[in-house]
């Protein structure tokens, strides 16, 4: 066996991730998102620092002096805004977002209880993994990101039959429907979904993503909008919320992604 430890590996590889490591402190970046009120700030910080075990205590305290709406809007969601900012800058990794979202979820449930009803969301999104496809981790990540951005998620799960997707979309009439597929032979369910949606008079963005899925394929059928990764979801759905139809979203796709990077 050769002596690997005494080899100079600088000629073989360069750790660009270390070269590009952010020197900014998370606290400094987060500060601009955090509220001044100490109780709401504690709620936001629990989300920011992933303290899902103490958040219920913080939310309960904040609810004594704030309305449930303010605890959600000015506390929980502000904390999540800081998390999204840190994630966007590459300082936070995906697990930070997921655990922060878990914490936010617990807080929202408690605030909603005080509210006496569900909070008003930005709109419904129907999500599924394609018929025949058991891989849904990407869909689950996208669901968390969309939920954290204020949307109501109707998660149909994995290996969902084309007809079931269509029926749910027709019943719910969501802002958008999403589909994910890892394999080229399961993504063929997407054009069938699109075709049947059209037959049923539906005309909405059908956001498709996944390992084998590519932009050219998704844009080959009506309503298809490609997403490269889960983090593209809020940017694309945001345009549907602004009233853009799928044709305009598809047309301005590069600009939307560039502005949400």
């Amino acid at each position: 066996m050769l002596d690997f430890d005494n080899m100079n590996s600088d000629a073989l590889l360069k750790r660009y991730d270390i070269v590009a490591e952010s020197k900014e402190k998370p606290e400094t970046i987060a500060e601009k998102h955090l509220p001044k009120d100490p109780l709401l700030r504690k709620v936001a910080e629990d989300v920011l620092y992933m303290k899902y075990k103490t958040i219920e205590e913080s939310v309960t305290a904040a609810l004594k002096e704030n309305t449930p709406e303010d605890v959600i809007e000015k506390g929980l969601l502000k904390g999540m805004d800081a998390v999204s900012d840190l994630y966007g800058r590459g300082i936070y990794y995906l697990p930070h977002v997921m655990v922060s979202a878990d914490a936010m979820d617990r807080g929202i449930k408690l605030a909603e209880k005080a509210l006496g009803s569900g909070r008003k969301t930005k709109g419904d999104i129907v999500m599924h993994a394609a018929e025949g496809d058991p891989h849904d981790i990407g869909k689950n990540i996208a669901a968390v990101l969309l939920k954290s951005n204020g949307y109501n998620i109707i998660d149909m799960g994995k290996d969902v039959a084309v007809d079931d997707v269509v029926k749910t979309v027709v019943d719910v009439k969501p802002l958008a429907v999403t589909g994910t597929a890892l394999m080229t032979t399961t993504m063929s369910a997407f054009p069938r979904v699109a075709e049947k949606l059209k037959e049923n008079g539906m005309d909405l963005p059908f956001i498709c993503a996944g390992g084998a899925v590519n932009r050219e394929y998704v844009e080959s059928f009506p309503m298809g909008i490609y997403a490269q990764k889960a983090a593209n979801g809020p940017g694309l759905v945001g345009k549907a919320l602004d009233g853009w139809d799928w044709k305009k979203i598809r047309d301005k796709w590069d600009e939307i992604l560039a502005s949400s990077e």
Binding site: M1, L2, F4, D5, M7, S9, L12, L13, R15, Y16, D17, I18, A20, E21, Y87, G90, Y93, L94, P95, M98, V99, D102, G132, D133, P134, D136, I137, N140, I141, G157, K158, D159, M183, T184, T185, T186, M187, S188, A212, Y217
Partner: protein, 467 residues
């Protein structure tokens, strides 16, 4: 169900391992020898979207286009031996008798013709799909909607009876917990999902696969933790990716080795699956032939150990490529050329008795490219194997030992200034070490804790594992 468990290493030292040689070589198919002194290219493929619509169109795609192209290119370039792998698409697993049977038979018939005409040694592996849904049930009689558990066994019967030489699977036990844990950077959850639940699922599944294989006199190859450790590895990605720290994925790989080993303990003989990057650890423990993939699989995915992972392989694979035209022929022909020439390089090194030099050069190329490459370098893979067999008779303890050893190896090299880590990778590593060291020594205590901790994970049903 009792099965043997490895308590000692089949290799007496790491340096004993090299590509193209296994302690327990195999002969199967149409004159193919694996792990018997040479490396064999294993070409894998996927049909074009749309061809799955009917049995006729899919059979034509697999047999008349894909298999014919492959065999012609192998003969054109003078490759002495080749293995094909057909990873079943969902439609084949859904209806094996209708969709898969004509393909399995047709591929073998065509390979037989080439074998007879040119004497090329060849064989085909069929990897039956595991479409089981955790929320519906992993065991027989549980999935009332689709009968997926039953369909897996039906698939193996169809494959083994109609032309497969090797049968394999990428089983998904424990994936529901692993998927939940990987995005939360929760190593204890991942250990529970893959190290413990995944092992229990394989202990149920693999004796049945071995039984079918024996009945039809075909080789029960092996498994892979594609569903778990590869998910972590691909999410960890390269230097531009920020989803999962690479120290996390490295530790999941070591844990996965303790789980994928169960196939061999239940009677699988190798070669294990190409996408199981835990293969070097399995080979160090079991001495069974190993299929691996790296730089010749860039058609399917990018990894951080394209050269290193060839170090101790017996089959060298391209993972998978969709059939389509390229300038140099069809995609399967081009990628067969890539992996076939690499196998030829390895075999030339063997003939010149320079194989261990080439092995070390492969390792040197990528040893410090990522923590996962580092722990899979054959010397470190061997040490992880030793940690596993030391407590080999307990699934929980050996998975924990594997993870801990991998984390310690990474930390040690980093402290010596060899393996560089980003701040995020280092923080994650420290948390992993703290979390794993805090786990109990008794399986019962761990399982009791985990059942409570993960009780609300979507799709988790302890009954899938008889818990």
């Amino acid at each position: 169900m009792a099965n043997m468990k490895f308590k000692k290493m089949e290799y007496s030292s790491a340096d004993e391992m090299v590509f193209g040689e296994a302690k327990y070589p195999l002969s199967y198919g149409l004159g193919l020898k694996v792990g018997a002194g040479s490396v064999v290219p294993e070409i894998n493929f996927a049909p074009r979207p749309g061809t799955e619509k009917t049995p006729e169109s899919l059979t034509k795609e697999y047999v008349e286009y894909i298999t014919k192209d492959i065999m012609e290119r192998a003969v054109t370039l003078g490759f002495p031996a080749i293995q094909l792998e057909n990873e079943w698409i969902a439609q084949m697993g859904e209806n094996p008798s209708k969709m898969a049977k004509p393909i399995v038979a047709g591929q073998k018939e065509l390979m037989q013709k080439f074998h007879e005409e040119y004497g090329i040694a060849c064989a085909i592996r069929h990897t039956v799909a595991d479409p089981r849904l955790h929320e519906e049930g992993l065991r027989f009689g549980m999935d009332k909607k689709r009968d997926y558990p039953e369909k897996i066994i039906e698939g193996f019967e169809v494959a083994a009876a109609n032309g497969a030489d090797v049968v394999s699977i990428e089983s998904v036990g424990g994936k529901e917990i692993a998927d939940y844990a990987v995005v939360r950077q929760d190593i204890r959850g991942w250990l529970f999902g893959i190290g413990y639940l995944g092992s229990l699922d394989m202990e149920w599944l693999w004796p049945q696969i071995v039984e079918v294989a024996k009945k039809h006199n075909v080789v029960p190859g092996g498994d892979t933790n594609c569903a778990g450790a590869n998910t972590a590895m691909f999410m960890a990605g390269g230097y531009l990716d920020k989803d999962i720290p690479r120290t996390f994925s490295a530790v999941t790989r070591a844990i996965a080795a303790a789980r994928t080993l169960v196939a061999i303990e239940c009677g699988a003989t190798g070669p294990d699956k190409d996408c199981g990057y835990e293969g070097p650890i399995l080979k160090a423990i079991s001495g069974r032939p190993s299929a691996q993939e790296g730089k010749g699989a860039q058609c399917a995915h990018c990894d951080m150990m394209g050269n290193l992972i060839a170090q101790v392989c017996d089959l060298w694979s391209n993972e998978s490529v969709e059939y389509h035209p390229e300038f140099g022929g069809s995609s399967v022909q081009c990628w067969l050329s890539v992996i076939g020439y690499e196998a030829s390089l390895m075999n030339a090194a063997k003939q010149l008795k320079q194989d261990k030099v080439l092995r070390d050069v492969y390792v040197a190329s990528d040893r410090f490219r990522s923590p996962e490459a580092f722990i899979l370098a054959f010397d470190n893979a061997y040490k992880i194997g030793q940690a596993i067999v030391e407590v080999g008779d307990n699934y929980y303890l050996r998975a924990k030992a594997a993870g801990l050893k991998a984390a310690e190896l990474i930390q040690e090299s980093n402290k010596q200034g060899k393996l560089q880590l980003s701040a995020q990778e280092r923080d994650t590593l420290e948390k992993i070490l703290t979390d794993l060291r805090a786990l109990p020594d008794e399986e019962g205590k761990f399982v009791d804790w985990a059942l409570k901790e993960y009780a609300n994970v979507p799709a988790f049903n302890p009954k899938n594992y008889e818990l």
